[in-house]
């Protein structure tokens, strides 16, 4: 049987503020497959960004393990991780280019080393059309609405045809209609076979997901459907606690 696309097992993470430990994730476990759209809601500071960074292997966890398609992200060389980030895992966060590039350049830029100029620009155009901003190719970041900027982020992610999209609070500052459009787009991407893990500040975006969860106090809590591989919980610990080995970090 194929390994799940993404598996987090008993992941714990703390930050230290001087002598004070700030526990962000506590024995958090999550499993998702290709073509699944998971949405995690949490209050500001709940650890949503940390969760996504750890899922991408961009940040190490103190305990537990993170596997992408069966590969333990803590146990691979940096070059291999960089290759996964170029080809398989897209981490999409808010924010734009530091200079006011034409948007097509901004989307094509990460593709240039792998694809070469012609193919990178053709792929960037296709990605922008796919997410519904094909008419924005010559516009610049400052001229875009918040909704268009969010879609540029998605276009940069999907341009590389990744297996896994990790999307960090893309709906912040968006209106109701733009949020619905974005959620529907991500649902379509999942239906086409991409695994999508998105964090959101509002619960309305959860309505498009296949599976939903909340993050609070370092723990992920989900109704039974989010953990089809685990027995239904009698106590929440059954959902969130898995035995995990200590890894790097």
């Amino acid at each position: 049987m194929d390994a799940p696309l993404l598996t987090l097992e008993a992941v714990s993470k703390s930050y230290w503020r001087g002598p004070h430990e700030l526990r962000v994730l506590t024995e958090l476990s999550l499993e998702m497959g290709a073509g699944e759209f998971h949405v995690v809601w949490g209050k500001p500071g709940a650890g949503k960004t940390t969760l996504l960074k750890i899922a991408a292997g961009l940040e190490t966890c103190d305990r537990g393990s993170v596997r992408f398609a069966g590969i333990d992200l803590a146990c691979i060389p940096e070059a291999e991780h960089a290759r996964l980030m170029r080809e398989q895992i897209a981490w999409i966060r808010r924010g734009g280019p530091s200079s006011d590039l034409p948007i097509l350049d901004y989307v094509a830029l990460p593709l240039l080393p792998t694809f070469g100029h012609r193919r990178a620009y053709a792929t960037a155009r296709d990605a922008m059309a796919r997410v519904g901003i094909g008419e924005c190719v010559q516009r610049r970041w400052k001229s875009l609405s918040d909704g268009e900027r969010a879609l540029v982020g998605i276009a940069r992610g999907v341009a590389r045809s990744p297996s896994l999209l990790l999307v960090d609070d893309p709906t912040t500052n968006l209106g109701l209609r733009e949020r619905e459009q974005l959620a529907a787009l991500l649902r379509d991407l999942a239906d086409s076979g991409v695994g999508v893990l998105m964090t959101v500040p509002d619960m309305k975006e959860m309505m498009s997901a296949h599976q939903i969860a909340t993050l609070s106090g370092g723990r992920l809590l989900a109704p039974p459907e989010i953990a089809p591989h685990a027995p239904p919980p009698e106590r929440p610990e059954n959902v969130i606690a898995f035995p995990g080995a200590r890894r790097r970090g």
């Binding site: 619960m203 309305k204 939903i212 609070s216 919980p233």
Partner: protein, 211 residues
């Protein structure tokens, strides 16, 4: 809330028999909003009040031993009564529920069971959100008029906002209870008061009473 006005509204939209109305009620409001048996008691009450009436019967269907099914339609009084209800004021929901009271009155030895209870309620709220999510997909797949779809989306958004507020409060309560429990264990290992001990008025566990 009684299913009475929901059933009356559905019958005004389109006449139907009991089982059909129960299905439509679930499609519209989710599986846990109203008990299925409430449909029949609501129909009995609406009939007694002459707000709905029998509009005929249809056959027993494939199960021949079953009784014919009564189709209900709204009376003129029923339509007027529904309109009056629609325009009347709606009371704000009660603020305090049983869990609020339990937390306000809990003693240190109750903290762990309360944490489990709060977890259970969080899961129950998430299950309701999951039900709403499934309803949303049903709505998207339907071929209803845009106006009706938008009204249902608006009602759904109100429910989401209500569950979100509830979940946020439960999370805050759980995080605080867990912190207090942990601190009490640290105190315990240092020879301080045990979780079963009577809390001092200004002690950490004493703060539970101020929630």
């Amino acid at each position: 809330m009684s299913a009475k006005y929901a059933i009356l509204g559905l019958v005004i939209e389109r006449p139907g028999y009991g089982y059909q109305l129960a299905q439509r009620l679930e499609e519209r409001f989710g599986s846990s909003a109203f008990a299925p048996s409430g449909v029949y008691s609501a129909l009995d009450q609406l009939s007694r009040d002459e707000l709905v009436r029998a509009a005929g019967e249809i056959g027993p269907g494939p199960a021949r031993r079953a009784a014919p099914r009564m189709i209900y339609e709204a009376t003129d009084e029923g339509v007027d009564h529904f309109e009056a209800w629609m325009l009347g004021s709606s009371p704000a929901p009660p603020l305090r529920d049983e869990l609020h009271m339990k937390i306000a009155l809990c003693r240190p030895r109750n903290v762990q069971p309360l944490i489990d209870m709060v977890y259970g309620q969080e899961l129950a709220c998430l299950a309701r959100l999951r039900d709403l999510k499934q309803l949303s997909h049903h709505e998207l797949a339907g071929s209803e008029q845009e106006w009706s779809r938008l009204m249902r989306t608006l009602a759904r958004d109100a429910e989401i906002a209500s569950w979100k507020a509830r979940i946020e409060w439960l999370q805050n309560a759980r995080e605080l209870l867990e912190r207090l429990l942990e601190e009490s264990r640290v105190l315990d290992t240092r020879g301080g008061p045990t979780p079963t001990a009577r809390p001092r008025a200004n002690g950490r566990l004493g703060r539970l009473h101020a929630l």
